[in-house]
């Protein structure tokens, strides 16, 4: 293999004055920012949708189901392009111009990734709630809780505990999926990976470094949620095998 190894290039200066390793670091920063922000959006929206799909109200269920159907059945990359190129042309012109000129790309990317992931989280939250005995809801109602209170105090706390392992892999996934946001101009890790390959052609070195970086991100997330899981474990109860 006449491959020319060169680990030094990480410390070479690029034409924008930064060193290559600084590109990697800045990419890592954007990846983390996009992922965490999207995760927040996804958790919030996904929970709301998941809850909607378990209510007795038919139309709420229909809205939730439709959302999940739409957002799960179109590839993420296509969704990002839609948000970026198509949606601004469909809204009123003033708003379209605002979206194109003033709305940071970061926001578009976070919305795209967040809404996509929300569909998956909604599935999990729903299956978590449905896996609880129906009697739990009745017990809450019988004590005089409103429907919302049974969610707030009785069903959601258990449902989240049950699906935490599944949420953990979703949270790890979001770091990986965030790589696709390079396509809408986010200067995250995969963008820098491509950029560095193009500039230096030192494929192996940069692949090793970037792979490791993604690995660490996912691993940290995993440990973090494992800690949460441990902290919220209910004595005398065996949970931990949530829906897929």
């Amino acid at each position: 293999m006449d491959y020319h190894w060169d680990w030094q290039f990480f410390f070479q200066e690029t034409d924008d004055g930064l060193k290559y390793y600084e590109w990697v670091v800045s990419g890592l920063g954007w990846t983390t920012a996009v992922s965490l922000a999207s995760l927040a959006v996804a958790l919030l929206l996904g929970s709301v949708l998941g809850v909607m799909r378990t209510t007795p109200k038919r139309w709420l269920v229909a809205v939730g189901d439709t959302y999940v159907d739409v957002f799960r059945n179109v590839p993420l990359i296509v969704q990002l392009f839609l948000w970026f190129f198509v949606v601004p042309e469909l809204v009123p012109q003033q708003m379209g111009i605002w979206m194109k000129q003033d709305l940071p790309y970061f926001v578009t990317a976070v919305v795209g990734l967040g809404l996509y992931t929300a569909a998956r989280i909604a599935e999990q939250v729903r299956s978590g709630i449905n896996s609880l005995p129906r009697g739990q809801r009745f017990a809450g109602l019988a004590l005089g809780f409103t429907e919302w209170q049974t969610y707030r105090y009785v069903r959601l706390p258990m449902a989240y505990r049950i699906v935490l392992p599944a949420l953990t892999s979703e949270a790890m996934n979001i770091f990986k999926n965030s790589a696709v946001t390079y396509a809408v101009g986010i200067l995250e890790l995969y963008f820098q990976y491509k950029q560095i390959i193009e500039k230096t052609s030192q494929v192996l070195e940069i692949t090793i470094v970037v792979t490791l970086a993604y690995f660490i991100l996912a691993f940290v997330m995993n440990r973090l949620l494992a800690f949460v899981e441990k902290r919220t474990r209910v004595p005398g109860l065996i949970t931990g095998t949530g829906g897929k």
């Binding site: 924008d16 190129f85 194109k100 000129q101 101009g185 963008f191 950029q195 390959i197």
Partner: protein
């Protein structure tokens, strides 16, 4: 005794030509998804030369689409034997691959919407400027005398079409790129009259056929073929065919006359790369 690429071609009985899929009019797919273009025509001549050199009239020609990210690795690892696209011959790239004599000289300029009021670099201060991944427009702008005090916001399209779309849709005030590519994009847009290529040349860049590094016999063959075409006037005919006439797939005419720099390059062919 053959060596390098020629030996590989002889042994395998095939030559693999790397091409781009949307570098109009150098190398792109026509309506039947076949690679065509100015660079493809030039390369066809090179392939003919290889056939007669190796006495392989039945040499099999394979085409392999490449992207700006993978063209260099693919050349290095032997997937392609020559690349006919719109690849700038730069000193940095010469560390990795070889180049033929230049067959085109492009100037880095900018495309703007006519109604945007941007006419020169000076108008860009504080504005978003689109570039395609791999180049940094602010560095180029700053290299220019008039652009020294200018601050722009870089935004990145994943490819030229995306970058151009940013200008078209009003996301970016300008798209800084090789002028010929800008001309191609404008000609293909819905309303070509809305756009203009403006400003001084930020940099001149030569395009060359990409080869493997340190493969003198093959490079000599390629260079000789190209130089012959330039000397015989054949190259200029091909230029007219692709740059001054309607081209497939939609019969758009780029109307892009030969620049003085290119005329000079065809008269005195060179494989010197830019810094």
């Amino acid at each position: 005794q053959l060596t390098g690429t020629l030996q590989k071609i002889k042994e395998s009985g095939t030559i693999t030509v790397g091409h781009r899929e949307s570098s109009v009019p150098f190398s792109y797919l026509d309506a039947d998804q076949k690679p065509v273009g100015y660079a493809m025509d030039l390369c066809a001549k090179v392939v003919d030369a290889v056939k007669s050199e190796l006495k392989l009239p039945n040499l099999q020609v394979k085409y392999q689409a490449v992207t700006s990210q993978n063209r260099i690795p693919l050349m290095q690892n032997g997937t392609i034997d020559l690349e006919c696209g719109s690849t700038t011959n730069s000193v940095a790239r010469q560390q990795q691959v070889g180049f033929s004599v230049s067959y085109f000289i492009t100037s880095v300029r900018m495309a703007v919407r006519k109604d945007s009021g941007v006419k020169d670099i000076g108008d860009l201060n504080g504005k978003p400027v689109a570039t395609t991944t791999g180049t940094t427009s602010d560095a180029l702008i700053k290299q220019n005398e008039k652009g020294r005090s200018i601050d722009v916001r870089n935004i990145y399209g994943k490819d030229h079409a995306d970058s151009f779309l940013m200008v078209e849709s009003g996301r970016a005030s300008a798209f800084v790129m090789d002028d010929i590519l800008l001309a191609g994009l404008i000609a293909n847009s819905k309303n070509p009259a809305n756009f203009a290529i403006v400003g001084p040349s930020l940099r001149d860049e030569p395009y060359g056929v990409m080869l493997r590094k340190d493969d003198a016999p093959f490079k000599a063959l390629v260079d000789k073929t190209l130089v012959d075409l330039m000397k015989s006037g054949e190259a200029e005919k091909l230029y007219t065919k692709w740059f001054m006439n309607p081209i497939p797939p939609r019969n758009v005419n780029l109307n892009f006359p030969m620049s003085p720099a290119l005329k000079a390059a065809l008269e005195t062919p060179t494989d010197k790369g830019v810094e």
